[in-house]
């Protein structure tokens, strides 16, 4: 207690020096917190947004992924309802929904545009984010019409209620078209996504493509992403010998996982630099501070303070500095993270290609707050411990008559 008191009193009686050390710690913790928010934003985006869209497991018609055309409907799942029923009976499966994707030419009187058509089930648990992004009409519009993005609507001079023709190549390879009313307009954060996708009910898509009772993919959403492996194994067993391919999110996003790892490494290196520079600055400052008071420490030793006591006294001061500096650092970093969590950091189009929308959203996590707070304290503590070690190795006499 007396150590803490002395430590705090000392911090107060040298405000400039205290401010310098606290600023250094705060900057380091601030950087680390911001960087952590960025990394976690990326991770969070991946695990919520991307997995939200892709699901944790996909059951895909065999051969589909090998086709030259990503929109090929040559390979589709027969009896997908059976797959859905089986999937739903597995533990940890929250939702299993069919998707029928196809290439479509959207035609109005004078314009045409090639898009990705998505036949979705209205009961699907995957519709949440689409539902939230609708700005006109409603998700129910997929039942008897199509949903297009605001950007597509602008480009094609369409509005809610207008009619469009959708031309496809049906399952027999023949051109076929139907006209649909625009029953919903949506806008997500990703303009790439918006530019490309239109939505209708899977039943309408089946009719348009002449693929009754078929889907191209069944996506599964699990209560926990770590259950994917076992669930996928179950499914593989149940559908052994059938023309289906079962993929977990790890397989679906292999490239991105690698990228995230790479990014992580980069961040760790950056943090390492920050920590080393901060540690050098802080150690230096703490050392100066302690050497300055060597005579005081010598006196305490002379009146009976043990080496361990002196060590504790000095590290307590480091601890207090670390505590205050880390607090200041979080006060610096958290608002930055919160700001970018709310408004996003415009990393330009590059973030879109990483599936993150046109801006890149940070994410604040308790885990990183605690970790960075602890790191700040540790840096200061390490600096103080080094100073303490230097001082307690000297004899009492040398400490008393320092310099």
């Amino acid at each position: 207690m007396i150590f803490l008191k002395i430590a705090l009193l000392n911090l107060r009686s040298h405000p400039r020096r205290t401010a310098v050390i606290i600023t250094a710690i705060a900057l380091a913790v601030g950087i680390m917190e911001t960087v952590a928010g960025m990394v976690d934003g990326m991770r969070n985006n991946f695990f919520t947004n991307m997995l939200e869209e892709s699901g944790h497991i996909q059951v895909i018609a065999a051969g589909k992924e090998d086709s030259l055309d990503p929109f090929s409907i040559e390979h589709t799942l027969d009896e997908y309802t059976d797959i859905i029923d089986t999937a739903r009976s597995l533990p940890g499966v929250e939702d299993a929904s069919p998707f029928l994707t196809f290439g479509a030419l959207l035609i109005t009187e004078e314009k045409n545009i090639f898009m990705a058509g998505n036949g979705i089930s209205s009961a699907s648990g995957f519709n949440k984010s689409l539902d939230e992004s609708i700005v006109k009409g409603s998700l129910n519009g997929i039942e008897d019409g199509v949903l297009i993005s605001r950007e597509t609507a602008r480009l094609m001079k369409l509005d809610y209620g207008d009619t469009v023709i959708i031309l496809v190549e049906d399952s027999e390879g023949a051109p076929y078209y139907l006209s649909f009313p625009v029953r919903g307009i949506y806008q997500t954060k990703s303009s790439d996504f918006d530019n490309m996708n239109l939505f209708m009910s899977i039943e309408q898509a089946q009719e348009l493509l002449y693929l009754p009772g078929r889907a191209s993919t069944v996506k599964l959403k699990l209560t926990d992403k770590d259950l994917a492996q076992t669930a996928a194994e179950h499914l593989a067993q149940a559908y052994a010998g059938m023309p289906v391919v079962i993929k977990t999110w790890r397989q679906i996003h292999g490239n991105f996982m690698l990228l995230i790892d790479l990014f992580d490494l980069f961040i760790y290196i950056m943090n390492l630099f920050t920590v080393i520079v901060a540690a050098a600055v802080i150690t230096n400052s703490v050392l100066m501070n302690m050497f300055d008071r060597a005579r005081e420490f010598g006196t305490m030793r002379a009146v009976g303070l043990k080496k361990s006591g002196l060590f504790a006294l000095i590290t307590t001061e480091g601890l207090s500095l670390g505590f205050l500096g880390s607090l200041a650092g979080l006060a610096l970093g958290i608002p930055v993270v919160l700001y970018f969590q709310e408004y996003g950091l415009d990393f330009g189009a590059i973030s879109e290609s990483f599936g993150m929308g046109s801006a890149f959203y940070f994410h604040l996590t308790a885990k990183y707050i605690i970790l960075n707070f602890a790191s700040g304290i540790l840096i200061a503590l390490a600096g103080a411990a080094y100073a303490a070690w230097v001082i307690i190795r000297k004899s009492v006499i040398d400490t008393l008559s320092w310099r």
Binding site: D69, V277, V281, F354
Partner: protein
Amino acid sequence: MKLFKAGMKNILRNRRRTSLNVISLALGIFMMVFGLSWGQGYHSYVYTAMRNFEAGDAQILNRNYLKEERRLPLDLAVSDTRRVVKSLTDTNIVKTASPRIDFSVKVSNRMESTRLLGRGVSQAEGEVTVIRNQITEGRFFTDTDRGVLLGEDLARRMKLNIGDTLYLTAIDRHGTENFMSLKLTGIFKFGFPPIDRQVIFVDIESARSLLDMRASSTRIVVRFTEGTSITEGLEILNEKLANTELTAYSWERFAQETVSAVQSDMGSFYVFILILYMMIIIGMYNSMSMTVRERTGEIGTMRAIGARRSDIIVLLLFESIAISCIAIIAGYLLAAPFMYYLTNIGIDISSSLPDSVPVPFGERFYADIEPLQFLLAFAIGIASGITGTLIPAVRASRLSITDSLGAKKHG
């Protein structure tokens, strides 16, 4: 020089403090040199690649084209392309002008089909981009050639060899679907997936008849003559095009994704470096303050025997410059092996990036070392040393002589 020597002596007197300062500043210098050369490599490579692969120096399009670019509007075209090209090349600022037609096309080998970005080009394309050098098999078009060029992976995937026939289906300017068969005359590889996997080059005459474009094109890609800057060239072109339906745009407009990616990457790097240097300056400030406190008596003595205020400041500044110099050398030495590796061996980035990344990294990535980066790091290193020292030095020079001589009696 004497002052510098005195500075050196003092920094040797307190080795621990010096080495901690050196460590932090050396890391800062390392980050700086490394980051700058990396950034420079990235910057120049990527920008050059974007221009050489696709964008040229400038492009001339119908005024309304870009607003509807997503649907590749054939109706918003550059009509009478030949006349426009001629009037462009007649000026002394345009070296070459290559007309293009971009269109959505379904490509089939009779077994399978897929949708690609068709790009109708003439022989002149070889003058505005490096496509001629990227041909790995067959050859690039001459003006009389009819045929298509396909990316290496795509050709292999479709089991196509030079001379094989491809079947193209596209919707023409009037909204009618047309069909055409053409021979594969060349195979290319840019090392940039958005081109290698998504684009099929078609000779412009075939493209025109497939799309019923007569003499028009959707854009004209321009290379300026040497010595013409992009802004200057654009200004002249737009003046010339003032009363037409056409506008000239800088290449950056067509590499926006890349440009913004590079800019935001560099931006975050600068912010990071800035904060790092702030910490370094704080460290320097702190240790110089200590030095001043410790040597108050010494400084008082010097003043008493006739040193001017400015001498004291210069003495302390020399001390911090000496520390900075050591740190800078240490930083350079630290950076050297990394730089050697990055410039001579390079790293393979493209294999770990998803195909959709719109940045042409090529096969390997190399850093770009320029003396300027070292100079800049040197200047900033010295500057941050001086910045951190200035306040303590001025404070030291302002100490009253009598006070500082009696400084030891306290406690």
